[in-house]
């Protein structure tokens, strides 16, 4: 045995074995060339025909495996119950309509405005009130336990989570203007 990790199989979706489409109401769905999906998970042990066939998987759900590091690579494709059909290695493996459908579905699942400017931060009674400019317009939100709700992804990359559970990203704190940087410096 060469490498014991080879025992785990990864089913990668490529333009050759996967074709994405939209349902009537605009949800992402796909057809795939893969071994038949067992209907009942209890029958796994029984002998099954493993020859791949083209099949319509219907609506599928996407989940980023490394949402912070590589948002456009390693995307898990799941069914309604969270069972994985396969993995998209890179969105750029796909082109045209396929890529558009994947990108659109991800944009609908992940909402995380990018903060471009910090207008003000006020602290009061253990809460901090933020007024910011984002790529989706001007926003204000409040955070509790501010220091702990800022995830430091790297030395310069931050993800803020507000009291409601919304997320805001700062790709590079050092790229912020001086005033914005001064305002957030306290929490770095």
């Amino acid at each position: 045995m060469d490498n014991f990790l080879d025992l785990a199989e990864i089913n990668y979706f490529t333009p050759e074995n996967a074709k994405f489409y939209k349902t009537k109401n605009g949800f992402a769905a796909m057809k795939a060339f893969m071994p038949p999906i067992p209907k009942d998970d209890l029958e796994v042990e029984e002998q099954q025909d493993k020859t791949p066939v083209w099949q319509d998987l219907g609506r599928v759900y996407f989940h980023r495996m490394f949402p912070f590091e590589t948002p456009d690579e390693f995307i898990s494709v799941l069914n309604k119950d969270g069972k994985e059909y396969g993995i998209i290695r890179r969105i750029s493996d796909f082109s045209g309509e396929d890529a558009d459908i994947i990108r659109e579905a991800l944009a609908k699942k992940y909402l995380c405005p990018e903060i471009t400017k910090i207008i003000s931060i006020k602290e009061q009674l253990g809460y901090s009130y933020w007024e910011v400019e984002t790529d989706m317009g001007r926003m204000s939100f409040s955070m509790q336990d501010t220091y702990r709700n800022i995830a430091r992804i790297s030395d310069t990359r931050l993800i803020l989570t507000d009291v409601d559970g919304n997320r805001y990203s700062i790709k590079d704190v050092l790229a912020l203007d001086r005033k914005s940087y001064r305002r957030i410096e306290l929490y770095l």
Binding site: E45, K108, L125, G126, D164, L188
Partner: protein
């Protein structure tokens, strides 16, 4: 307090439009703020009379709830949506960022209830009446809008029993202030009448010195007594508060407790009450003392020379401003230092508790580098802070001297010009300036400390005010139970939008042994938690001996149920105290019998200190099987009518399992037993098996019946047999 009601006009317009569509009435309504492609928009939804009225930007929609098969709340990342299904096709109703997530969860529950013909009383959505923000489930106060003054008033009832002591302390407060004001007057007399006088009188001089010394002594004694009294009363208040808080937390339902982490609850009992103590013992008395002294000094100064007083007061607001800005700056400095220091602590904790992993993977060097990096950072920051601090402080002290310089200038000039003032007047005024200016720097910290205290107070009272969602009825029934259990249309969900158990109907007669079977996460454990009333059903009912369990006293009910869980928690203490935990008045003989029945006696006798062996957190470590047998002994000791075994024998080796099975078999005769097990062979003695799937009961029957019908149970058994065959063949 600022009101943060900043609902945009467009949002209000959307709400009004949706309400108008519903004919001006709403059973339930909520806002949402995203369009289907995740762009910000303004939308509102009204549910009324079985219909959904939707406004999203310019688009409007009306839907009939009964024409829809299913409603779903979809939790995305940073946003949420409501979806529905008609004829197998999914549709999206609306989407929003997380601000409206709670309201949307409740909406889904409402719509589902309407569809199923149930009426749901909407008592879950708590909105802060001031700012309109939806409060998190479990929160009862909006920390943003809470009235700080009222909050402090709530401490009064706790102080009431100490009214006498506090009055005495108040007298001392006034006494100390009065002497503080008087002292400079004595000094003035000393200088004007004796030191600078042409012919001083020795007796008067000695008397005055004596008076000054006496004043000093009185201040010292009064302060001592005052401190003792305030410390004693505030500590008593603190203890009372902690008692009330602790009792309240225990009274809360498991749901109320698990909503918050253990750490958070510990924090509220220890840290938050500690902040209150600091306030009551330190800040508050000091604040009163200083305020009294300043008022007194101010009055005397005004009488003495009002012009000079006003001149001295001019820089005060300026100084307060300056010190509060310095405070903000230094606060930022030390905040950063504190955080980096705490990061360093986290790293150390991490590495030391994971030392085995570090050693096994040989990553000592890497960890060292990581530690050095953070240690360096702490050093850099604290070095910089020290430098800044040392630059600020002398300068600030110089500025504080401004008042004194002004006095020297004006009074000194007056003395030089022989304007009727003496050196004594100068000294008196300089002392007063010191008294007024002294606390300014300290005062800059007061608002922050008060705010901190208010936050802690709010958190403490939030718990004290919380209503337990597993409430005791007015006249709880206390009686010996027989052991018949019945689920009638029982449904339950941990959160508002998802039922974990749906429409469970099940009858368990006294003396039966029932096995709950199914994959993990299908609701088996939830079902037994409901029987123990750790949670209350969301709909339907569970009865014991034909009486709704909500009518029993919780203590009576639980004291007749014995539970053995997969994870056994042993308290820090001896084996004996851990077994006797279930029945504190048990005799030694009873405990030994219980241990024998549980097959635990033998291994206990192998311990060096027998039943007195220390176990638990810092004690002797027992193996999984040994802990399990202690748990069984605990359950036996109670002689319960209903016995619940939740995966009691999983993750044990076969020999131990057999021993424990023996123990259990001795236990179940004549009692109602409910057992959850993944290893189906464990349930061979069951009189009835209940197969759960996706929150519902799929099959009920004996082993033979279920094997014959060839359903899910049959498949599960077959799968396990194949597994064991595979293992044997290898």
């Amino acid at each position: 307090m600022k009101t943060k009601n900043t609902t945009p006009a467009k949002q209000i317009a959307a709400r009004e439009k949706a309400l108008a569509m519903a004919g001006g009435q709403a059973d339930y309504s909520f806002d949402f703020n995203l369009s289907s492609d995740n762009r910000f928009s303004y939308g509102a939804c009204v549910i009324h009379n079985g219909k959904i009225f939707l406004v999203c930007g310019d688009r409007t929609d009306t839907l009939d709830i009964n024409a829809i098969d299913e409603f779903r709340y979809v939790n995305n990342i940073g946003c949420a949506a409501i979806e529905y299904t008609v004829g197998g096709e999914d549709y999206e109703l609306c989407r929003s960022d997380m601000k409206n997530a709670v309201a949307m969860q409740i909406a889904v529950k409402m719509m589902t209830a309407v569809k199923e013909g149930r009426t749901v009383v909407n008592n879950e959505l708590v909105v802060c009446p001031k700012c309109g923000r939806t409060l998190k489930p479990g929160a009862t106060v909006c920390l943003n809008c809470i009235n700080k003054k009222l909050l402090f008033m709530r401490l009064l009832p706790y102080a009431k029993p100490y009214a006498k002591q506090l009055t005495f302390a108040a007298v001392l407060f006034i006494l100390i202030s009065a002497i503080n004001v008087l002292l400079p007057v004595l000094y003035k007399k000393l200088i004007n009448n004796f030191i600078t006088a042409d012919d001083p009188n020795t007796t008067g001089f000695l008397l005055l010195i004596g008076a000054i010394t006496l004043c000093g002594l009185v201040i010292a004694v009064a302060q001592m007594v005052r401190q003792i009294i305030t410390a004693k009363t505030s500590n008593n208040i603190l203890v009372k508060l902690r008692e009330v808080l602790y009792a309240k937390i225990q009274e809360l339902s498991l749901a109320g407790i698990t909503r918050r982490s253990a750490g958070e609850l510990i924090n509220r009992i220890t840290s938050d009450t500690m902040v209150l103590k600091d306030f009551l013992v330190g800040l508050f008395p000091e604040l009163i003392q200083q305020a009294l002294i300043i008022i007194g000094v101010f009055a005397v100064m005004l009488i003495f020379n009002w012009k000079l007083t006003l001149i001295i007061l001019i820089p005060v607001p300026l100084l307060i401003l300056m010190f509060s800005s310095i405070r903000k700056y230094t606060h930022r400095m030390y905040h950063r230092q504190w955080h980096t220091e705490s990061d360093l602590g986290t790293i150390l904790y991490d590495v030391f508790s994971g030392m085995r992993v570090v050693k096994v993977f040989g990553t000592e060097k890497k960890e060292e580098a990581r530690f050095n990096k953070y240690a360096r950072r702490v050093a850099d920051i604290s070095q910089r802070n020290e430098r800044t601090w040392n630059l600020i402080v002398p300068f600030a002290n110089f500025l504080l001297g401004i008042g004194e310089y002004a006095v020297i200038l004006i009074v000194g000039k007056n003395i030089l010009n022989n304007g009727g003032m003496g050196l004594g007047d100068l000294i008196q005024f300089i002392s007063y300036v010191g008294i007024i200016y002294g606390p300014i720097r300290w005062m800059a910290y007061v608002p922050r400390r008060i705010a901190q205290t208010a936050t802690s107070l709010a958190k403490v009272f939030e718990i004290i005010d919380e209503k337990s969602d597993v409430a005791e009825t007015d006249k709880p029934i206390e009686k010996q139970i027989h052991g018949d259990i019945e689920f009638k249309n029982a449904s339950f969900g941990y959160n508002a939008y998802e039922y974990v158990l749906k429409n469970i109907n099940l009858e368990i007669k006294n003396g039966e042994m029932v096995g709950f079977v199914g994959r993990s996460g299908v609701g088996k454990t939830t079902a037994i938690n409901l029987i123990m009333r750790l949670y209350d059903v969301s709909a339907g009912q569970i009865s014991v001996d034909g009486i709704d369990i909500r009518k029993y006293s919780q203590h009576t009910l639980r004291s007749q149920i014995g539970v053995v869980l997969q994870e056994t928690f042993l308290f820090h203490g001896t084996i004996y105290s851990n077994i006797a935990y279930a029945k504190p008045d048990a005799t030694k003989e009873e405990v030994i019998r219980a241990a024998k029945l549980a097959n635990a006696h033998e291994f206990i006798m192998r311990q060096p200190d027998g039943y007195n062996t220390y176990v638990g957190d810092r004690g002797y470590t027992l193996s999984g099987g040994e802990r399990q047998r202690i748990a069984i002994a605990r359950a036996i000791l109670r002689n319960p009518r209903i016995l619940i075994l939740d995966e009691a024998t999983a993750s044990l080796d076969t020999e131990t399992e057999r021993q424990i099975q023996d123990a259990i078999n001795r236990l179940i005769s004549g009692r109602t037993t409910i057992a959850i097990a993944h290893r189906l062979s464990t349930l061979r003695n069951a009189t009835k098996l209940v197969v759960f799937e996706k929150g519902m009961i799929e099959e009920v029957g004996t082993h033979e019946e279920l094997m014959r019908s060839g359903g899910r149970y049959y498949k599960l058994v077959m799968a396990q047999r194949q597994m064991s065959k595979l293992i044997k063949n290898k």
